[in-house]
């Protein structure tokens, strides 16, 4: 993508190792409490230079607190923060050289679009010509030329997002922090901005830490995801790892449309005993000892409906049920299938329209899945 992007990134091709100060980040044992609340509880992880990591977690899980400590807007009670080989947790915010986009965007209402983007350059005492050139580049990078003279209250919501991004990028920080800046946008605009972030990340090769409570966004834009709850880091890994190999019922339940079947491991780890001694085979994941309490993670899209009278292939696991709800969602159709033996409903999803049309509400079905598609997590 264009010369302008390269200028902003300091003419380094994306993905290449950066000379000198890079965007590696090390979070080591960071904690912060507010009274009795442990907002962030002993969190440690590393981020590679040029990586896009998303902090994912429900509201109140400490994502914003962690981000604010990286930016220097709050002080950790314990722990260290390193960026590019330099310890920064003692530096004041204005000396950290980190870009941040706030949820409220925090555009300066008394300055024009130009003034907003030029602000960080003024702080760095850039010359007039350089300031003008860099503001123009930044506006081109976010694909918003021609609006520099506008007031920030005269432009649309999507344009404001891009101006906030341009302002956080114009001084070429090694690290960009995003605190749910798209949460307030309508679905369509939000998707567009997510793609914009992917594009920018690819073009600029900058390290990005993004915060969201939207698991779909996390999976869409990230290289890796760090799942948080109640101030603790629950799991960190690539999007595929997080999705396919969740390490806990919490992570499994938070990411994707998931059915959790609770039970006890039996028969040398081959079988999970559900309620009323219903047994389902396991996929050979023998991390859990026999007798351990566990939950089987059944992703909705991994479940296949079959007619109740059909003969089920020996390599599939199955549960009998009855279709209670069928909802056409455009690209998929969602089923809610009541499994009387378990006293609950499971969700299944299919992308095939012909399959969906075969199972109207009230049909008796078998819910089937391949055992190796279902992860087992401790509870």
């Amino acid at each position: 993508m264009g010369a302008s992007a390269d200028i902003l990134a300091g003419s380094v091709p994306p993905g290449a190792a950066r000379p000198g100060g890079d965007g590696r980040i090390r979070i080591a044992g960071i904690s912060q409490r507010f009274g009795d609340v442990r907002a962030v509880d002993d969190v440690s992880f590393d981020i590679e230079s040029g990586e896009l990591l998303t902090l994912l977690g429900p509201s109140g899980s400490g994502k914003t607190s962690l981000l604010r400590m990286i930016a220097g807007l709050a002080k950790p009670d314990a722990g260290e923060i390193w960026v590019g080989g330099q310890r920064i947790d003692q530096l004041p915010t204005h000396r950290r050289n980190i870009g941040m986009v706030f949820q409220s965007l925090a555009l300066f209402p008394h300055l024009s679009v130009f003034g907003n983007i030029a602000f960080p350059l003024w702080m760095r005492r850039c010359g007039k010509r350089e300031t003008a050139a860099r503001v123009r580049e930044a506006l081109e990078v976010v694909r918003l030329p021609q609006i520099a003279a506008r007031r920030v209250d005269e432009i649309s919501g999507g344009q404001r997002q891009r101006v906030a991004l341009a302002r956080a990028l114009v001084y070429r920080p090694k690290l960009l922090l995003l605190d749910e800046p798209f949460a307030a946008l309508d679905a369509k605009l939000r998707e567009e901005m997510q793609l914009e972030i992917i594009r920018l990340h690819h073009d600029l090769g900058i390290t990005i830490v993004n915060v969201t409570h939207d698991q779909k966004e996390a999976l869409t834009i990230s290289d890796r995801v760090a799942v948080m709850s109640e101030g603790r880091l629950r799991q960190i890994g690539t999007t595929v790892e997080i999705y396919q190999r969740p390490n806990s019922a919490f992570v499994a339940g938070f990411v994707g449309t998931t059915n959790l079947l609770h039970g006890a491991v039996a028969a040398g780890g081959e079988i999970l005993v559900l309620a009323d001694s219903i047994r389902v085979p396991l996929g050979g994941d023998k991390r859990l000892a026999p007798g351990a309490a566990a939950a089987l993670v059944l992703r909705a899209e991994r479940l296949t409906l079959m007619p109740a009278e059909a003969i089920i292939p020996a390599d599939l696991a199955s549960l009998p049920g009855m279709v209670r709800l069928r909802a056409f969602q455009g690209n998929t159709t969602l089923f809610e299938v009541e499994v009387v033996a378990l006293g609950r409903s499971l969700r299944a999803e299919t992308t095939s329209l012909s399959e969906a049309s075969r199972f109207p509400v009230g049909t008796a079905v078998s819910l089937t899945w391949r055992p190796q598609d279902a992860a087992l997590v401790p509870v």
Partner: protein, 332 residues
């Protein structure tokens, strides 16, 4: 036809509403509901008390101005012919120095008080708005209101005790071996005494302006590389500017027209315009010269207010112009 409306206590308690109702009743009784009450009349009815108030005020001002452009026949103790002599006496005739000194003192001390009040009001208002502690917020607000609850004279005498020879200041200066000093009769004393009411007024007027500033803006400025003071100068100050201008105008007008504080804390040595107006009106009995002095004082207040407001407008225009030019430059 029964007219229960007229007995409605809420309506009786609200004169403008009552006026409109009466018009409505008149309409029903005399016009059989055929006459549509013009909207202008309704609005005029609602604004009636304000119109009466402003009318009375305007009438008083007109009278003041009318007196001020007449000479005073001291022998007959009555109005002489139309003449600019009162203004000459105050401003440019030989011997006008006496009044000019008073006017200059009033204006200078008022400007100094206004300036100090604005400087002090910013942290006070910021504290009240930004503190997380409700107790602190309520305490701050209460402290801002207390000076108005005690009345001019009590307050001035309080300061008399603090600043006088027998008071705190005298005791302090004596224990420091400087002799028993006093601030009564000094400009510093008047300035301190004025600040006690002007700072809270300025702070209260500033509150909404400070509240409108999103705290995220300061944090954003910090991440963008602005140290605390630059953020204050480049973000907080411009965003508070309209509030500062309002507060400044009110602070200046209130100080310019002070009576009790300069009278008591000035020890009669440093009269303000209001003290002199009182003196000219009631001791000398010269309502013509007194009126002229009042008109001059008023003119200074109005002119200063206009300069403040115009200054803000020009500053904003200039800033917008600079940004627009820079933006146009990069569009080329």
């Amino acid at each position: 036809m029964a007219m229960p409306d007229s007995a409605d206590p809420a309506v009786v308690a609200d004169p403008p509403a009552l006026f409109v109702r009466l018009l409505g009743i008149a309409d029903r009784v005399f016009g059989g509901g055929q006459i549509a009450m013009p909207a202008a009349l309704r609005i005029a009815g609602g604004l009636l008390p304000a119109i009466i108030m402003i009318g009375v005020l305007a009438w008083g001002l007109a009278l003041l101005f009318w007196y001020s452009i007449h000479s005073y026949d001291a022998f007959a103790d009555q109005s002489g012919p139309l003449s600019p002599i009162e203004y000459a006496t105050l401003l440019w005739a030989k011997g006008a120095g006496f009044y000019r000194t008073i006017l200059i003192r009033t204006v200078l001390l008022s400007l100094l008080t206004t300036l100090a009040a604005l400087v002090l009001a910013i942290p006070v208002a910021t504290l009240i708005i930004r503190t997380r502690s409700n107790l602190l917020r309520i305490t701050g607000l209460t402290l801002c209101l207390v000076p108005f609850l005690m009345g001019d004279i009590v307050r001035a005498f309080g300061w008399l005790i603090l600043l006088g020879r027998e008071g705190l200041y005298g005791w302090l200066s004596q224990s420091l071996g400087l002799g028993q000093r006093t601030l009564i009769g000094s400009a510093l004393g008047i300035w301190l005494g004025s600040l006690q009411t002007i700072v809270p007024v300025a702070a209260l007027i500033l509150l909404p302006a400070v509240r409108r500033i999103d705290p995220d803006l300061e944090q954003a400025a910090a991440t963008l590389g602005a140290a605390r003071w630059r953020c204050f100068v480049l973000v907080n100050l411009p965003l508070m500017a309209p509030g500062l201008v309002s507060a400044g105008i009110v602070a200046f007008a209130l100080t310019m027209t002070q009576y009790a504080i300069p009278d008591i804390l000035g020890g009669g040595l440093l009269p303000f315009a209001a003290n002199t107006i009182q003196n000219v009106f009631f001791t000398e009995g010269n309502i013509y010269l007194g009126s002229a002095l009042a008109v001059v004082t008023l003119a200074v207040v109005l002119l200063t207010a206009m300069v403040f407001a115009l200054g803000l407008g020009l500053l904003r225009r200039w800033r917008a112009g600079v940004q627009r030019r820079q933006a146009v430059e990069i569009a080329l």
